[in-house]
Amino acid sequence: MSGRFVLWFVSLAALIAAYTLVASRVSRPDVLPSAQDIAEAFGALVGRGYQPPAGEEHHHHHSSDQVEILQQQGVTLQASLAVSTARVLFGLVVGLPLGILMGLLMGWSRRADDYLHPIYVLLRSVPPLALITYVMLWLGHSEAHRLIPIVYAVAVTAVIPTYHGVRDVAGKYLIAARSLGARGWLLLNKVLLPAAAPAVLGGLRYSLAIAWMTAVGAEMLMAENGMGNLLVGGGMWSSRLQTRSDPAVIIVGILALAVAGWAMDAVARIFSARLTRWAR
């Protein structure tokens, strides 16, 4: 076990050392910022937004355009992360029940499966982010067109694990329980749901990753806050991805996203281990 940690740290240290070496060799902070630049960008983004340069020089600045623009807009890393997390959570809270319900229905009844599956395949094939502009026409420039793609992505992702959990895993338990006379609520609550739970919860972790991806994508395209906005540094939506950004800011943003994604996945893992303790 200790060998694992040694190798883990060796690898991480090698990565950082190699990066530092290459960055100092190349010495192009606009392409490969040094570790110090990244740390300064982090400090500036975590700081309390923009303090107007009142007379004296502002010290400690990794002064790139993107950091300054973000500071002027009062964008901070923690606030962006909070907004994105809230969007992801909203997507999960609304999208998961929809997807799980559809998966239960399709897994439970062959008739429903026959009718709904073709429609589901159509829905699934449409990339959520392609829907953004269309939703915007209907609902205006608001929060809705950022949230709807996330909800859509989560729901579509949650269907399949639930469906297979109900149809393939729970199937034999259902037959056994039915032959013992169980039916209705008892069958659903005591047999079907527990039996399908591991598959459903496995899908939850996958939905989580999709939700983050969609949220960041939607924010990169059109949002005035959140991690996606921080990464591209704002701007009009159609020209957003045309501006060169500061790699130090992007690296800080990406690391923050990786940590947030990892933390939420860890919570989901613990949560599902709790709920499916019977399975082991």
């Binding site: 060998g3 449409v126 990339p127 502009t133 269309y134 205006g140 990169m220 996606g228 990406i254 996203l257």
Partner: protein
């Protein structure tokens, strides 16, 4: 059985198409056609275009060769990204699954790529590789590699110990065990991850094509249709991407059936 299934599928899809047609006819003239777009009003918007105007727009897009060339360009990017990404991802996944030391060494990197939303890498790739093809293809490849790596890794890890021990006790060496036991057993898991990656590759391209946005490409076609806005084009663009995802998925399934002909079919 199969007949009933097919009939029901047709009924369901027809029902959706007819319902949409009815909604569009009812909506014509009733839905607002002047829409506030954040900064200005746009006129003549058909929120729910009728089947007829969709058909006219589709004919225009096909005749002007906009649609065909866009499909060709985007498909090429997705394909290159898929091949590159799954080659790297599957190889690494097999390696990390098979050799524990490699797994520990690769773990921090793999964890990082697993939890980074792939689209977040786009601005960084633009800085590193410029606006051209490289950024787009590499973004797809990264995304695909992260998913297939996990699929291959879990596939190798899921190989029952007993198989390997039995083969070893019969004198099979490392390479033989890998080729005859690990690869076939891990295949379903690898394949499932490739199928997921196909869908995500198309999600990625729609956004990635907004950098250095130019025709022909499906991502930019969608963005342009959204900017005007021209709803029939938008809907046809969305449907085209959806259809391509479907086609890719079907091709993957076909390939799967071919490769696993030796297995007994259950479903």
């Amino acid at each position: 059985m199969q007949k009933v299934k097919a009939r029901r599928a047709v009924v369901a899809l027809l029902a959706v198409a007819v319902l949409y047609g009815i909604a569009a006819e009812i909506g014509r003239g009733r839905l607002p056609d002047r829409i506030w777009l954040g900064a200005h009003y746009v006129e003549n918007v058909q929120l729910l275009p009728t089947w007829r105007s969709l058909a006219e727009e589709g004919a225009f897009l096909v005749e002007s060769e906009i649609l065909v060339s866009s499909i060709a360009v985007s498909t090429r990017r997705v394909l290159i990204g898929l091949v590159l990404g799954s080659a790297v991802g599957i190889l690494l996944g097999l390696l990390t699954g098979w050799a524990t030391r490699v797994e520990y060494l690769a773990d921090p990197w793999v964890t990082f790529f697993r939890f980074t939303p792939a689209l977040a890498l786009l601005p960084l790739y633009v800085v590193w590789f410029g606006y051209g093809e490289t950024s787009k293809v590499l973004l797809i490849a990264t995304n695909v590699a992260a998913i297939t790596l996990l699929g291959a890794h879990q596939g190798v890890r899921g190989v029952p110990r007993v198989y390997l021990d039995a083969a070893a006790s019969l004198g099979a060496g490392g390479w033989l065990r890998f080729r005859k036991i690990v690869l076939p057993t891990a295949f379903p898991s690898i394949f499932a991850s490739v199928r997921i990656a196909v869908g995500l590759a198309w999600v990625t391209i729609v956004v990635a094509e907004l950098i250095d946005a130019r025709m022909p490409s499906l991502g930019y076609l969608l963005a342009l249709a959204g900017a005007y806005p021209r709803v029939p084009t938008m809907l046809i663009g969305i449907a085209t991407v959806g259809a391509l995802v479907l086609v890719f998925d079907m091709l993957a399934l076909l390939l799967h059936a071919r490769v696993t002909r030796w297995m007994r079919r259950t479903a």
